[in-house]
Amino acid sequence: MKHVLSILVNDEPGVLARVAGLFSRRNFNIDSICVGETETPGVSRMVIVTSEDSQTMEQVKKQLHKLIDVIKVQELSEHAMVARELMLVKVEVSPSARSEVNGILEPFRASVVDVSPNALIVQATGDRDKLDALVELLHPYGIKEISRTGLTAMTRGMVKVPS
C-alpha cells in the first residue's frame, strides 16, 4: 500500500541527503521524493511516497523524527488530501496524427508544450492514476521519454493534522 509522507525540514545544505540516507540505511523504500520551499522561510517540505506496511510506517515516522533537521512528519495518506504530480512525455507523433493525439489530451486537461516535425512534448498534472492512464493511452504512438516529478501533496481544508 502506498503511503504519502509530508516532512517539514530545516532548509540546510545536505538535508535531502540526510533523509534519503535514513531511508536507505534502514531499508525503507522510496517510490518518489519531491522537495521545495514552503510559506515559512528556512523551512522546506519534502513529500515522500513509500510502499511499506503499516507497522513499518510507524518506524519510518519515528526514525524521521530522530533527525535534528526534521521538524514535523505527517502521514497525509491517512487523511483527505490533494496529491499532484507533473509529467512531461515526449511522444512520436507525425503531423497527421497530431489532432488525434490532441483528442486524447483534452479529457486529461493535458497540453502540448513543444512541437517538432515528428514529436510532441505533452505536459500533464494530476494524481498518479490519472498520469498512469494517460501514459497508457499514449503508448501506441511511441513514447520516447517520460519525466515525472513525483507527488507533492497537502491535506484538504483547514484540518490540522496531528504529527
Partner: protein
C-alpha cells in the same frame, strides 16, 4: 605535560569581557568549549587544525596528545562513559578525520555523548579533491546523532552550543563539527550564544500518566515478572530508582552488557547478564516470564538472538525508554513508556505495589543453584576465568574495568560483579577491537583516584598498543591485563563449534613479547604463566604507582559458556558440559 595556564573562573570572566571583540574562529572555539565545561580534550594535530592548535598552546584546557586518532576518540569515549560528560576529540582533515569513523560508530551504537571536531581544507577548496580533504560530514552522516560543516565563524557559538546539547540530551550520541581551515583563522566579532533554538529536537522526559497506571496494574497482577535493564539506566543515572523499583515490586533483574553496574551485581535480585553468553538463570527467566519490563535496553540481537518468535513468548512486554523509535522496533509492546528513565521510575516508584512473585523468586534461586557459572581447572595452567576472579578479588570489585572485544569481554561480564554504574566500560553494540586500552586512559584521567583496569585479549591490545606512550609520558596508572591465549579466541571458539575446527587465520603467532613492548615504552611489564606467579605479579602491578602491563598466558582451547548459537532461541543454550 600541559600545565593549566589560567584558573577556570578567570577564563570565564575573560570570556564575558571579550564579547564584541574580533576573534578568530579557533579562539572562539576554545572559549565556547570552556563555556561548556570541557576540561579534557584528546587529539592529534595536523595542517587543517593548525589555527586551533595555536590557540590551544596557551589555553586552560588540558589537551592529551594521543598517538593515533582512533586512540584519541576511544579515549574521549572512555572519558564520557566514566563521567557522563561529553568526550571531546580534535583531529585534522582527511585521514585524521576518517580515522575517527570507527570510534564514532562505536559511540553511536552505545549512545555515548561525544563532540568530535575535525579540521577541513579551506571552504574555497572543498569539493576539489584537495590535499588531505575528506567529506567527513557525508561519511559520518549515518553514524552521528547530528553533524555540522561550519561555513562562517559567526555560526560557531551557536553550533557548539547546539552540538553539546544534542550530544548529551535525550538519547546521547556523537556529534561531529567540521571546521574548514579558513573558518578557524578568520576573525569575526565574538558573540556568545545564550539561547538554544532547535525546532526539530525536543525529547520527551516525563512519562504519560496513563501508561504509568497500566504498568503499576500489570506489575501487581504479574506472577513471573522480569526487569531487563540496559545502558539507559547508566546514562540516565537511574540506578537508585531501579533498585527501589525492583525491591518494592519484588522483581528479579537481568542486566545487559551495557547495563552492568546499573543494578548491583551481587544484589539478591540480580540474575546476571542475559542472551548469547548470559547466565542460565537469566535466560530461563526470560523464557518463562509473564511480564518483561525493559528499562533503558533496546532488545538487541545478543539478547533476543534475532529469534523474536522465541523471545519471551509467554510475556507481555513493557518498554521504558527515552527514544520513542526503539519502542516497537523489535518487539510488539504492550505498555510503551517514553521518558527519561530516572523520571519514569521515580513516578512509578510512588505508586508501585509488589508483584505476586514469591514462588517465582524461589524458582530463580533454584535456577541459580542448579547451573551457576562454572569452569574446569587444568593443572599448572592459568584459566582466563580465574584471572578475572583474581582481578575482582584483589580490588574487592571496586575498580573501573574496561574491556576490549572477544572471549575476555564475556568472561569479565560473567565473573566480575559490578556494583556501581560507570564501572564497566565495554564496546557493546559495535564490538570494536582496540577500544579497551585507550578507553581506560580516558576513564583514568576522569577518575585519577580510582583503580582502572584495562582487560584485553592479545589481538585487540595490539590494535592500539601505541597509546602506551601516552600512559607513560602522562603517568596514567592504568593496569593492563592481557588475557593472552596467542590467538583470536572468540573466532576460534566459533570455528571449533560451527566450522568443524577449521581454524582459519586465527593464529596470532608473531605477536610481540608484551613485557618487552611495555618496557620499550617505559611502562612496567610483568608475565604470569601459573596461579602463583599471577597473584604475585598482579599485586606488584597494582602497587606500582604508574601504568603497568601484565601478560597472563592462559589456556588456549577454552570456550565461553553458556553459549546460545546464532539463530537459536534462549532455550537452546549450550552449557559446555554436554559430553558428560
Amino acid at each position: 605535560m600541559c600545565a593549566q595556564t589560567a584558573r577556570a573562573e578567570d577564563v570565564m570572566d575573560l570570556i564575558k569581557e571579550e564579547q564584541g571583540e574580533m576573534l578568530s574562529g579557533a579562539e572562539i572555539l576554545l572559549r565556547c568549549l570552556i563555556n561548556e565545561g570541557v576540561d579534557h580534550i584528546f587529539g592529534y594535530p595536523g595542517g587543517a587544525v593548525l589555527p586551533i592548535y595555536d590557540s590551544l598552546y596557551s589555553s586552560a584546557i588540558n589537551h592529551i596528545l594521543m598517538r593515533h586518532e582512533q586512540g584519541a576518540i576511544h579515549a574521549a569515549d572512555g572519558y564520557a562513559r566514566a563521567t557522563g560528560k561529553p568526550g571531546v576529540v580534535i583531529v585534522t582533515s582527511g585521514p585524521g578525520a576518517t580515522n575517527l569513523v570507527t570510534g564514532i560508530a562505536t559511540a553511536q551504537m552505545d549512545s555515548i555523548p561525544l563532540v568530535c571536531i575535525t579540521g577541513n581544507v579551506a571552504t574555497t577548496a572543498i569539493g576539489t579533491d584537495a590535499f588531505q580533504e575528506a567529506d567527513i560530514t557525508g561519511i559520518t552522516m549515518p553514524i552521528t546523532k547530528h553533524n555540522y560543516l561550519v561555513r562562517d565563524a559567526k555560526n560557531l557559538p551557536r553550533i557548539i552550543k547546539e552540538a553539546f546539547h544534542i550530544a548529551s540530551t535525550g538519547r546521547p550520541g556523537p556529534v561531529l563539527i567540521d571546521i574548514p581551515k579558513d573558518v578557524s583563522s578568520s576573525k569575526v566579532p565574538f558573540q556568545m550564544e545564550e539561547r538554544l533554538s532547535l525546532r526539530g529536537y525536543n525529547p520527551t522526559l516525563k512519562p504519560h500518566p496513563l501508561q504509568v497506571e497500566r504498568l503499576v496494574k500489570a506489575v501487581a497482577e504479574a506472577e513471573r515478572p522480569v526487569i531487563l535493564a540496559g545502558g539507559g539506566v547508566v546514562s540516565g543515572g537511574a540506578d537508585r530508582e531501579l533498585i527501589r523499583f525492583a525491591e518494592e515490586a519484588r522483581i528479579p533483574v537481568t542486566t545487559t552488557l551495557m547495563g552492568l553496574g546499573g543494578f548491583p551485581g551481587n544484589h539478591p535480585l540480580c540474575m546476571g547478564m542475559p542472551g548469547m553468553h548470559g547466565t542460565y538463570a537469566a535466560n530461563q527467566a526470560l523464557l518463562e516470564c509473564d511480564l518483561l519490563i525493559g528499562v533503558g535496553a533496546r532488545f538487541d540481537d545478543r539478547v533476543t538472538m534475532g529469534r523474536i518468535d522465541k523471545f519471551a513468548t509467554k510475556a507481555k512486554i513493557v518498554h521504558i525508554d527515552i527514544d520513542p523509535a526503539e519502542i516497537g522496533k523489535t518487539l510488539e509492546t504492550y505498555i510503551p513508556l517514553v521518558g527519561d528513565v530516572k523520571q519514569v521510575l521515580s513516578v512509578v516508584n510512588e505508586k508501585v505495589k509488589p508483584a505476586r512473585s514469591e514462588q517465582w523468586l524461589q524458582q530463580i534461586e533454584a535456577w541459580k543453584e542448579e547451573r551457576p557459572l562454572t569452569y574446569d581447572k587444568h593443572p599448572d595452567t592459568l584459566m582466563p576465568q580465574w584471572v578475572i576472579e583474581l582481578l575482582y578479588e584483589s580490588t574487592s570489585g571496586d575498580a573501573i574495568v574496561t574491556t576490549d572485544v572477544g572471549q575476555h569481554q564475556m568472561w569479565v561480564a560473567q565473573y566480575f560483579s559490578f556494583a556501581e554504574p560507570r564501572s564497566c566500560i565495554s564496546s557493546g553494540g559495535l564490538g570494536t577491537m582496540g577500544f579497551g586500552f585507550p578507553a581506560a586512559l580516558g576513564a583514568q584521567l576522569a577518575h585519577p583516584e580510582r583503580t582502572v583496569i584495562s582487560v584485553n585479549g592479545d589481538g585487540g591490545f595490539q590494535m592500539n598498543a601505541q597509546e602506551l606512550a601516552v600512559a607513560a609520558i602522562n603517568n596514567i596508572p592504568v593496569k593492563v591485563a592481557i588475557i593472552n591465549n596467542l590467538c583470536l579466541g572468540m573466532v576460534r571458539q566459533w570455528q571449533e563449534i560451527f566450522y568443524e575446527n577449521r581454524y582459519s587465520h586465527i593464529d596470532l603467532s608473531g605477536s610481540p613479547d608484551f613485557v618487552k613492548l611495555a618496557e620499550a615504552y617505559g611502562v612496567r611489564g610483568f608475565r604470569a604463566t601459573n596461579e602463583k606467579e599471577a597473584k604475585q605479579v598482579w599485586q606488584e602491578a597494582l602497587a606500582h604507582p604508574g601504568p603497568a602491563v601484565v601478560d597472563f598466558i592462559v589456556r588456549e582451547e577454552e570456550n565461553v559458556y553458556p553459549m546460545v548459537p546464532a539463530g537459536k532461541g534462549l532455550d537452546e543454550m549450550i552449557m559446555g558440559d554436554e559430553s558428560e
